[in-house]
Symmetry: D2
Subunit: 390 residues, 4 copies
């Protein structure tokens, strides 16, 4: 706790003693809070006031010193920044975990045939490996973004007071180090005015991951229909109906799909609140609700996705049954290209001879798909290498 | 152009000759386009079809080869990614330029007094230096974010075709290098499904810079009122009224303020369009409008901000006149703290003795404001050092 | 044109003559514009300045009188309000047309079986009639909303000048009548400050209709997959692929789906721009872009929907084939309820005896579905009666 | 409660007795809930299950009958629709109250001078009456919109079950009447698919009112600065600072300003969640959070606005002191117009003779501002007449 006190060339014995008393009282308070004995209620304006009042009850005048050189403004900034950083680290590690699980599934079913769609229309032969490797690469990007974002906003606002600093030589370099910030947020006005801005950027990183959860949820929502029937999921991921005895519904997939919208709403709420001149305004107090709402649902949804990637079952027969001869037409056209026929000619020839497609097999098609990243050349090692660097 | 052709262990003479013919024809086409002689009109589905048709008219069968191993999908991805990268680089450099100009102004008026506001109420003495240094730090963060974002999305989608790769050994590592991408976007499905996602992230970086433009515009909008009158701007930044002979209006400041909303709208449009299963869908074609709309206004607005930071005039007398004695109360409270009085006591004493404030001066107050980053200790060097690394 | 001139108890002969000259010149200008001979270019600040300059070139001093008692602010308000009203009327009539077509299709296939889904899982037997009647009721609500919204905003801002009125006795009641407004927008400040507000409400009405287009597009996007195959559409609604010879893609359905997002983006853009104090600000000039973008896409999309409802083909055999015995379980449970068994008991009995379901038919199930509005009791007359009142 | 039971030509004695038992048990349950003795906790899936279980505990088999012909889907729809209706009625009445208070203040200070601004620059003489009359007209529109919206969505979904009706002759016309709905929502699929849609429309009506609160809050935020100083507010509307002894901050005004963003965020969240095919999906369960969040803050903020309009104090001297001679230039130009000088000439003459303006007074200017709605002709009666019709 002594790090919040004004600097002095050599701290006196009494200063050190005061610091130790404060540290002890804070530790005690922390324990009370952990035990549920310290309750925040209407007596206190907020947790910062509550802590100050408690310290004053315990330590008298020493407690009254605690707010020296501080404003609730910079206290709130510090608390919310530590929260943003912790949540982004959690998002980073969940994304990496989803990517790992996806790579494993891609490897296990690298050449298992699956229809490839564009416009939801059957297009070409694809594979389970390609599907999961795509999910893996998405979550590698998402993990990387969460990490970059945490670094970008990991700047220390402590000691900026109400936006104008103070006439005390606060040891801001020291608090930067002790609180594991990468740098000091130098300017006190900017510290205030970055409120909402940094929250927005953290939500953006969370949202990008949820964007891929939404797409994956859409895939699963289609693939669990009776009509597609490509995927099954354990009973604990489904629910029944209050009126229809026959139903098992993939509710968790739909909640996964809906999570993005919650974060999008939280971002819109933040964006709307930031049309303001410089300096603190009470409008900024409203950044906490959407910040927490958005990050909590992001973490929950990523945990769910991480579990579901591991737990879902593939109905490979249904996938294979959905592959029809027309889906080899592109292969044929490009084989002709390799033989020297100009592509536009080859395209027309392939279209005009549907009968030539009937005898082909998914396995041949996938093995020949050798362009880097394609089903016959997934380059999982390259993805794994990026993942290892995160 | 030869980089788009299928790999072969050693290219034959005829392949090299074909590549040279294509390169020459493309160069010619590029010149025509630059000269305004190649017009995209309703004859063509899009620019990619137009190029293919033109090459075929010029080169016959060789032109018909150009689309081998490609889909419009990956062509559009490449084109839009190069665009995103270029615009982010422009945003990065404009933000750095704004930060440079702001640091210069902060240094020039480091201790020029200016009222500091919270809740738009006069709070404490502040300085022009503090105001501009805050702007500088904001735009250093914005420049850094634009650079990070450009790096994050600088991945090569070329060779992913319609989302499933092809049965040709495309030289994707080579195109990655030639087009200055940092890495290959490995997975073809993900390449498709990152459409909109990467655009959104680029808009986020642009939006963050505009968020600070909006705040700065709000400051200027207030400071150019007759009531504040802290800032003036050259006539070319103002307009008149069609009905009121007496008006000079700071229109550009208002356009600067409104730019954020255009990008916010573009982001909302993109977000809404991305609730889709895997694979290409025509919905994705609509990402181009908001992407371009958002980035163009961002670049325009940053250019305006860059100019305005340099061109505006400070009315330092009006600023000084707006400082009133009550604004020294916090200084007084903290002086008492330095003398050992507990802060809560000191706060009450300062409030109860308003008369003690009348004799103080802004200069004293600013010089004593020594907490790192505050007016008396702006630490411009530290900001300049971060700027130099960008 | 004389209605814009100041009132006088009895107009003099010369006033009438001036009015006639202005009316003639404006008519001529209108003709030139219709013929493409009057081009708005960089010479003019906007169309209002262009008209004034043209009148002055034609009529000398009389042209210079035209702006008396007016500001560009109220001119723009009038023009955009007339535009909003016209577009809402168009939306109203398109929604009514879609509802009419949907009712016709509901009647034609009132009892044609179709699976009913919840959570995209097969739930109970449903009918084509129920599906289209639901679409009809949605668009009746949408038509009604467009009409209410047009009425709500049909207030005359002309004569409010720059937001503070003028010292001339303008005949606002007369212009209200001549321009077919329902009422005068009384207060000049509010006239300014309703800018953006009324545009937003018009976009909301458009968006509600597009929300149902989006849902309908999702249905069609699923129903045109090979896996569902419930619906086909004429070739003119589909496109091919640049790489895959075998593709016919339902592009228009995807564009229909994506339209909502364009309007959502436009609304977000408007909402962001309206965080302002009273009085005109240049920010408000930016309301025109999103207003026009949103309403144009709404009208286009509704026209497409109107055509598609009429033109799509139902594959009734595929629909029938997708009905499976478990979908009768709810019927069975409720039959037991009619026999006096408590519902919770009946629900359990129905679930425990799946074998009892195999012999049932869709036709029986639909005919027995007699709760008002259900497949056996569609109450199309009631919907038609509401439609007729629009 | 009997209205939820299946119809029979003449109800038997035992049916009536059952209905009475259910009604009594529900009344008892309601009382327990009101007394805090009926707690919803983790034992129950939701309130609907809890009620059914409680009735079954009390009434045995009769309790198990309660869910006959119903699904949680339509129960939730009914509950949320009654909530929407009640909140819109509250919003309607609060808007009418704000309009009433504003009209009273407009009348009391009809000709009290106040500067009129455009672009936040001093423009022309205006009045307190004009400012408050503008607020009144805005809230008349808002009240009218809330009423129209309540009527638009006041349709009964009860009896639509899970979106496909049931094979029981439910008395939907009767429940429509008993629950005070204006009409039956006929189609069961549409009843499901209007979820979110109706919530959005209710939020739109709330948002429009908050849009005007936001603008009014911006006015107050500026007018309570030391620089403008046009308005004061009682101490209970302000708060202090934890660090600055000298501060009194207009926090409530800032919370009023920020409320719109909360509703905008809630709307964005809803909009994002509604990109779905027909039929119920679990995504729709997430509509409740933003619906309630948005409407609760709307009601709170309107209550605050209603109080503040009545309680704020005008500093008429400061307003008068802010009027400067150039603000008469438009008056002068239009006087010349009345004398027959073409407006463009008059405009130039007024601009070229600033000295002629010095002798004018605000009172003269306001009295001469006679265009309908302007300060000299506020037409409060016309506004009051519209208000009386709400």
């Amino acid at each position: 706790a002594w790090i919040f006190l004004p600097r002095s060339p050599s701290r006196s014995v009494s200063e050190i003693s005061m610091a130790e008393q404060l540290a002890a009282a804070l530790a005690e308070l922390g324990q009370q809070f952990a035990d549920g004995d310290f309750v925040l209620d209407a007596r206190f304006e907020d947790c910062h006031s509550a802590i100050e009042i408690s310290l004053t009850e315990r330590l008298g005048d020493l407690g009254k010193k605690i707010h020296a050189g501080r404003s609730r403004n910079d206290q709130v900034l510090v608390a919310s920044r530590l929260y943003l950083r912790a949540q982004l680290e959690r998002i980073n590690s969940l994304c990496a975990s989803i990517a790992t699980a996806s790579l494993d599934r891609a490897q296990a079913d690298a050449l298992t045939p699956m229809p490839g769609y564009t416009h939801l229309q059957r297009a070409v032969v694809s594979s389970v490996g390609l599907w999961f490797a795509g999910l893996a690469e998405a979550f590698i990007d998402n993990a990387s973004l969460a990490r970059d974002t945490a670094a970008w906003l990991n700047a220390n606002p402590l000691g900026t007071a109400a936006g104008y600093g103070v006439n005390l030589p606060l040891e801001r370099a020291l608090t930067t180090e002790k609180l594991n910030f990468d740098r000091m947020q130098v300017n006190p006005m900017y510290a205030q005015n970055s409120r909402g801005k940094f929250e927005l950027q953290a939500l953006t990183a969370a949202a990008q991951a949820l964007l891929d959860c939404r797409r994956f949820a859409w895939d699963l929502s289609l693939y669990t229909t009776a009509e597609f029937d490509f995927v099954s999921m354990p009973d604990e991921y489904t629910t029944g109906s209050s009126i229809m005895p026959n139903k098992r519904n993939p509710d968790v997939v739909e909640l996964m799909r809906g999570a993005y919208g919650v974060v999008q709403g939280a971002m819109a709420e933040l964006q709307a609140g930031l049309s303001l001149p410089s300096g603190y305004h009470r409008d900024l107090q409203r950044t906490k609700g959407p910040m927490i709402r958005g990050l909590v649902i992001a973490v929950d949804t990523l945990e769910l996705t991480d579990a579901l990637v591991r737990d879902l079952t593939l109905n490979t027969e249904a996938m294979a049954a959905a592959i029809e001869p027309a889906m080899y037409a592109t292969d044929v056209a490009l084989e002709k290209v390799a033989d020297g026929i100009p592509f536009r000619e080859a395209y027309r020839q392939a279209m005009d001879n549907p009968d030539a497609l009937a005898s082909r097999s998914p396995a041949e098609s996938l093995e020949a798909r050798v362009s880097p990243g394609a089903a016959g050349n997934l380059q999982l090692d390259q993805l794994r290498a990026r993942l290892d660097q995160l």
